[in-house]
Structures are given as C-alpha cells and as structure tokens.
C-alpha cells in the first residue's frame, strides 16, 4: 500500500534522504531502526506531507481506492483523510484548543470525506471515552488543551488515542516508546495492537528492541545516512540490541 522508490529529500537545502526504498503491504508491520540523525523522522514527515520537506527525486506512492497514487504533491490533510497517520516523535502543543474538540473535528473531517455520518459532541463523548479506556487515559485530558500540560508520556499516549480515533490504513509511529515507562509502554503497545488488522499496515520507528517484543514486526529495516542499508526479519532488532550498528555500517 506504500511504495517509496529511490527517494531523495531535503529540508532547508540539506539533503537528508539519499535514495531510500521502502515497500509496505497491507497487514504488515515494519520496524525502522537507525542511529540518531539518520533520517527516520524526516522519512515520517515526508510520508505525512510536511511542507518544509521537499522531494528532490524518486517517488512516494500510496494506495488510494485500489490504485497506487503518487502523493508527493498531496496536502497533508488529504493524505490523512485517505488513511495516512503519523504519531509524532515530538507531539505539538496547541494552546486554547480543547482535546475533545480537536479529536471530534479530526474524526468528522475523515467521516465527511468518506461519506459517513459526523458525530455531535453527545455521540462523540462515549465513543472517545471508550478509546481512552483502552489506553488507560485519565478522562481529565479530554478537557485540556491539546498536549498542553501533558507529560512526555501522556503526549505519546495521546498520539495513539488519535490513531484509535482515525483508524488509519497506514500508521507511522515515530519513537512512540521514547519517554514511556515500562507499564505505559505495554499499555500503548496493546492500544496499537488492537488496531492491527489485515487491511492496515504500520511502520514503527524505534531505538529499542523492547517495544518490538510487544508490537511484533514482520520486517526490520536499518536506516543509515538517508538510505535503508539492511532489511531482515525480527531477529535483526535483537542483533542490533546486542551489537549496535557498527557491524552493519562497516
């Protein structure tokens, strides 16, 4: 459902991705690992359509209505409505916008796009509370401004709550485990796993094999200096945990 070919991408004139290939099919979970600064977050932002990042060469195709479609020029909001979701490494605070209102606007934007019924606050309230229960989130967050006065871990949980609301076909999770304590990580991983189906796919960016014990990947990639330099099965994550990246880079 996602097919990236020979992708070169830059931000503010810096070339970050240098010939990246990645192919993800429905039902698969891919893990991407790699040293700091190798381009993992850049890749996630390119897939989500950040306007600051430019595609210099290559292509990004995503399956829309059964047809692989070049999305390089598509607005981020349209990509989201078509089923692409990014859980941010650093979720953004939006002062003055209540979380409940934000989540409902978001849900309704997708519902409208797919010709489904929108929800008013009365319908939405039980719907969102149910999702929060799965993630063991305190109901008080719903009344706060988006990510404002959330702890690091709470922000990450809030990202997965948004994923649960939008039910994307392709979710890119950028270091969702960073900043989570062990128990929180299990809860969040469970929250992700209940969303896993044969029809959707996930790309999980992480530094730690530990998360992959809970969200089991089919394929593990190593991203280094803007390219995928190694692709293998789940055992690769264990090897990296043990040996680091040196043996792959040499």
């Amino acid at each position: 459902m996602l097919n990236i070919k020979d992708l070169y991408a830059s931000v503010d004139g810096h070339q970050i991705l240098k010939g990246l290939d990645l192919s993800v099919k429905a039902g698969e979970v891919h893990a991407i690992m790699g040293p700091n600064g190798s381009g993992k977050s850049t890749l996630s932002k390119i897939v989500a359509g950040h306007p600051q990042y430019t595609v210099d060469r290559g292509s990004i195709e995503f399956e829309i209505n059964g047809a692989m479609t070049n999305i390089a020029a598509m607005e981020p909001d349209l990509r989201a409505r078509e089923g692409i979701f990014l859980a941010f490494q650093y979720p953004v605070e939006i002062p003055g916008v209540p979380t409940s209102e934000f989540l409902r606007s978001s849900y309704n934007a997708l519902a409208r796009h797919h010709g489904l019924a929108e929800m008013d606050p009365l319908d939405f309230d039980p719907f969102i509370r149910e999702k929060m229960k799965v993630l063991e989130m305190d109901e008080k967050y719903i009344d706060r401004a988006v990510n404002v006065d959330f702890s690091g871990g709470e922000k990450k949980r809030n990202e997965i709550l948004q994923m649960a609301v939008l039910n994307p076909r392709l979710a890119v999770l950028d270091e969702t485990d960073s900043g989570l304590d062990v128990d929180s990580m299990k809860i969040v991983a469970h929250g992700v796993n209940v969303l896993r189906t044969k029809r959707n796919a996930m790309v999980v960016i992480t530094h730690y094999q530990r998360l992959l014990n809970y969200i089991k990947p089919d394929i593990v990639h190593v991203l280094y200096q803007g390219r995928i330099i190694k692709t293998a099965g789940p055992e690769l994550a264990l090897q990296i945990e043990e040996k680091g990246y040196d043996w792959l880079i040499a």
Partner: protein, 272 residues
Amino acid sequence: MIGSSPDMDHLTAVPQIFRFRRRSEATDIMRIPAGARHIVLHVEEGARVAVAGNFGPSEVEAVLEEGAHLEILRVARADGISPCVSHFKARLAAGSCLRSFFFTRGESGVSDDINVVLEGAGAGVFLNGLHLLAGEAKAESTTNIEHAAPSTTSDQLYKCLLRDTSYSLFNGRILVRREAQLTNAYQLNKNMLLSTQARADTRPELEIFADDVKCSHGATIGHMDHDQLFYLQTRGIDKAAAGEMLTNGFVEDVVDRISDPRLKNEVQRSLR
C-alpha cells in the same frame, strides 16, 4: 450597590461614583451606563463585584479596600473615526484583588492605559487584554503596575491578533519598590500576525528595587506556527479550518482567564 450619580448631564467630566457596600456581594453584573465619561468604583472592605461596560473615550477609577474583589470587563467602543482613548486607574489595599479584561476589535484605533498601585500587602492584580485588529487599526496598550507593598502579585497577559495593515504596541511597565519584598510579577505579550503587512511592537520596562522578587516578562511576535498547522493537518483538518482553530485557540487562551462565567460568556458571544 448604590449609584450616587450626581443628577447632572453625565457627558460632562463630573465623576459618577458607585459604591459597593462593605462585605456585600453583588448578584448581578453592574453595567456602566453608556456614554459615561468618568466613573469611580469604590469597592468597600470585603465586597465582591463584577462590572462590565462598553466604553468610548473614558476614564475609570477603582478603589479597592481591604479584601475587596473587583472584576471589570471593558470593551472599547470605537466610533470608527477617532481613536478611542481610555484610562483606567486602580488602587488596591491589603488582600484585595482586581481582575481586568480589556477587549477591542475591528478597524478603529484604540489607546488604553492602565495604572495600578498595589498599596497593601497581599494584593493581587490580573490584567488581561485582547485586541482583534483589522484594516489600518492601531492599538496601543500601556500598563503601569506599581508594587508598593510586600507579597503582592501582578499577572498580565495581552494578546493581539493582527490582520491587514494593523499595528499594535504594548508598553508594560512594572515597578517594584524596595518595601515590596516577595513580589510576584509576570507579564506576557503575544502577537499573532495574520498578514505580511501587520506589525507589532512590545516594550517591557522593569524597575526592581526589592531583592526578593519573582519577576518575568516575555513577548512573542510571529505568524501562525507552521508546526501547529502541520499537526492539525495530519489529523485530516484542512488548512483553512486548522488556521481558524489556531486563531480561536490563541484567543480562547486569554478569554479563559476571565473568572466570572457571565463576563466570560459575554466575550465569547461577541467573538462568534
């Protein structure tokens, strides 16, 4: 409340004096009569009152006795021709609390200045302001806070949303006298520019003569935040709706500081 308005044409500068009796608690919002030019609000010991008014050019004075609470909403009523010039002065005795919200919108010019003297220990003032400017509007807000007694607090948030070629200037002066130990003073001025030609300036001025003081000030002037916009867009919300959410959020953040729900409601209604 007793309105001891002199039986005279209130368009003259003779002050209309309103007294709020000792320990009284007004159940209704006191409305300042339209056209009033010079108002004195005298809030006696322990009294609590909420006041609202639409002002043209005017002068309001408030005297807060010990433990008094006053929350005042002033909405600048500009005639669209001449700038609306208004003044607000307040003196706060020990343990009293003043909350002030100044609100302007539209294309007329506004100039408001506020002078607050914290005379008694433990007095606190919360000054909030919101300007929604468009066209060629120019808004100037000046706040002058004098901490003259120990353990006094001042907290200010002024926000300005600027369209077209509008301009905002915020002058914020805080004076902490030597005897005003354990003062807390905060000041924040945030400006969101919605066009390339809108401009804003901010001029904080801090004079601190006491040594045990917590004082901070900050200012931001900038366009809409790209990362916030992107974040909302990645949740399926189109750019126009996301922009509207962000400007509403920017505004809501300060409106939320109005403590009296009726006054808050009034501002929220006029924003719709």
